[in-house]
């Protein structure tokens, strides 16, 4: 076998693994759907139609994919340094809080200043919120996952507290903040069947930036060295603590930006519980996409489609939209035993080659 052939098989195997994981998850969900007496094909069809069938659905899917993709970037960044960032949800809520406060209370600024400033406030809030677990992890080696989960719970309660007792809109029936100033609202590209704002360009820019920084600079190289083999990186003189800190803090900033975009681009105010779990969507995407930004875009479109289409599915087929979290959980659980699936994928690929 020539060298080229082997590498071709390997890349096929690399694509095969996530596909196999998704297929197994789909099979599991289908069994579940049959168990509650629904037709899985009809359910998937109405899900697909809700997400891509109408122009309105399509636009909603694309605009929902922005915060999901940013969360995926945040998780992927931490994965690159060799840690697992599941605090994205909390950082996202905090970022939304920061940008909402900046959007409401900074008055009389021109849009060119106010809009980026509010986004920046969101990023800073997410970053500051990521600082606490990061410092505890780097300085005292506490279990990062446990602390992130606690911080996620904390962030939700804290944001409810701030909305209820500080920035509540008295005229609103639901728990929501005052509307943000018009100068802090992200302008829309399309408005008629559904709203699509310029955040999609911000996302593309950040994707390109991440690609350049991580694959073309020394900083990015040293950062991934920490993730590949921490001990080897330590012996070659790389300051592990600093890279771990930055990996998690930039992740926090990206999550904060995702929250800020939701506030400034979609709702124009901060709703309590506005995020249906964008931060958790990012986890399976980042873990499955093998740190490839393009795969992450595709993955977040798929997850956004699940989120948008599940409403349609709930109305048409009477299947609860919680099925999305079931899919998420199944994917993450399967990723934990990824190497067994990799082995299976390898057997499928090489058997075909030999035959």
């Amino acid at each position: 076998m020539s060298k080229k052939k082997i590498s071709g098989g390997d890349s096929l195997k690399a694509i095969m693994t996530p596909c196999l994981i998704i297929l197994i998850a789909m099979a599991f969900v289908s069994v579940l759907l049959i168990a509650i007496g629904a037709n899985p094909f009809a359910v998937f069809k109405s899900l697909f139609q809700g997400a891509f069938g109408t122009p309105r659905g399509l636009i909603n899917t694309v605009s929902k994919s922005v915060p999901i993709c940013l969360s995926a970037f945040a998780v992927a960044l931490a994965k690159k340094v060799g840690v697992f960032n599941i605090g994205v949800e909390g950082q996202l809520v905090f970022g939304a809080l920061g940008s909402a406060i900046a959007g409401i209370y900074l008055k009389g600024l021109p849009m060119l200043v106010h809009l980026p400033l509010s986004l920046l406030c969101g990023m800073l809030a997410g970053m500051i919120y990521a600082m606490i677990p990061t410092q505890m992890f780097v300085k005292r080696q506490v279990n990062l996952l446990v602390i992130f989960i606690m911080m996620n719970n904390l962030a939700k309660l804290f944001s409810t507290f701030v909305i209820m007792s500080m920035i509540r809109d008295p005229s609103s029936i639901t728990t929501a903040s005052l509307p943000i100033q018009e100068s802090a609202q992200l302008p829309n590209i399309v408005t008629s069947p559904g709203k699509l704002n310029i955040s999609i360009f911000i996302l593309l820019g950040i994707g390109a930036l991440i690609y350049i920084v991580f694959y073309k600079t020394v900083w990015g190289y040293e950062l991934s060295a920490c993730g590949l083999n921490r001990e080897a990186a330590r012996y070659s003189g790389i300051n592990i603590g600093r890279y771990l800190t930055w990996g998690l803090l930039i992740g926090g900033a990206l999550a904060g930006l995702a929250g800020a975009i939701e506030v400034q681009g979609t709702y124009y105010r901060l709703y309590d519980g506005f995020s249906p779990g964008y931060g958790f969507d990012g986890i399976p995407i980042a873990l499955l996409s093998n740190n490839n930004p393009l795969f992450m875009f595709i993955g977040s479109i798929l997850f956004a489609a699940l989120r948008v289409g599940s409403n349609n599915m709930q109305i048409e087929q009477g299947v609860p939209s919680e099925i999305v979290s079931v899919i998420q959980g199944t994917l993450v659980t399967l990723i934990a035993c990824e190497y067994i699936i990799k082995y299976l994928a390898g057997r499928i690929v090489y058997k075909k080659k030999e035959a």
């Binding site: 507290f161 659980t333 399967l334």
Partner: protein
């Protein structure tokens, strides 16, 4: 007035400690055998749902407890297959099971009962046969029978861990699986047993206590971080039953304090801020407890059978 307040507080502390203690003891076995179990939350929520479902179908809370134990054993079994048999990444497996169990219970609750809260079922909130005990009978009857089972379990756990050969084997497997295997201990059998049976059963009791021991219905996300508090309690309690109970009592105290402050509204603080109290307590506890030498040395390191090495 003050006397009754202290009594209510004390009862409330003990009541809220029960699920944390049960879950933490389950996790202790799992971690002592070298398997990190972050799926505690998922095991608890699935058994809380199982308890209500079993009671709803059979109209008997004890069968509900049994169903609860089976449900969490199923989740624990998946964790065990992934992390013991296949040597997968234990943290990710636990986390995935948390997400899966939370989603699946919410999904099934909606699908079966059409709301996010199940209908009320028979419960195990009080132990009426203890009412006849003189003087303190009224207080004793206020606890669920599961709470008395918990007291017995604490004793059994202490005995098993420090006085039996099995307890020594568990410690050996968690500290150095290779040496343990050389000494003729069945490493994988012990790990499977600790995770699936012991951790699963204790998590099942904890979840059943949450849904039919404290309340009489199931609610989405009703574990509310209690599983994670149990994980912290195990680490802070240095993997020994008596310290774990101490730390769990501390968490139970903060939980009770939070509940009482909300009911009495004594300090005039926003309820959301009061609700953060148990989480803050957990985070501060984690910060204080640094990694100790008693740490099971092979914790989180997969030990894979030869046939899976490729």
């Amino acid at each position: 007035m003050n006397g009754t307040l202290i009594t209510t507080m004390l009862i409330s502390v003990l009541r809220l400690t029960v699920p944390i203690v049960l879950m933490a003891l389950g996790n202790m076995f799992s971690e002592r055998a070298g398997i990190m179990n972050l799926g505690a939350e998922g095991m608890m929520i699935s058994s809380a749902f199982g308890a209500v479902l079993g009671t709803y179908i059979f109209n008997n809370p004890w069968i509900g407890v049994l169903v609860a134990i089976l449900c969490s054993m199923l989740v624990a079994g998946i964790h065990s297959v992934i992390s013991v048999e296949f040597g997968g990444i234990q943290n990710i497996s636990g986390l995935g099971l948390n997400m899966l169990a939370a989603g699946l219970t919410a999904f099934l609750c909606r699908a079966l009962f059409a709301t996010s809260i199940s209908p009320t079922v028979k419960n195990l909130q009080t132990t009426n046969c203890l009412k006849r005990v003189p003087l303190i009978g009224d207080v004793l009857a206020q606890f669920s029978p599961l709470a008395y089972i918990t007291v017995a379990i604490i004793g059994i756990c202490w005995f098993v861990m420090s006085k039996t050969v099995f307890g020594m084997h568990v410690v050996a497997v968690g500290d150095d699986p290779r040496t343990a295997e050389t000494a003729g201990i069945h490493v994988w059998r012990i790990r499977h047993f600790c995770v699936t049976v012991l951790c699963g059963a204790l998590a099942g009791l904890a979840g059943a206590y949450l849904s039919i021991g404290q309340l009489s219905f199931f609610m989405e996300d009703m574990t509310n971080g209690k599983g994670m508090l149990a994980v912290i309690a195990v680490k802070m309690g240095r993997w020994t039953p008596k310290y774990i109970v101490g730390v769990a009592l501390l968490f139970g105290f903060f939980d009770a304090l939070q509940a009482q402050l909300q009911i009495n509204n004594a300090l005039n603080i926003a309820p959301e801020l009061i609700q953060t109290l148990p989480y803050v307590a957990g985070i501060v506890t984690m910060f204080i407890s640094s990694s100790s030498k008693e740490n099971p040395r092979a914790l989180r390191q997969p030990y894979v059978k030869n046939k899976y090495k490729f």
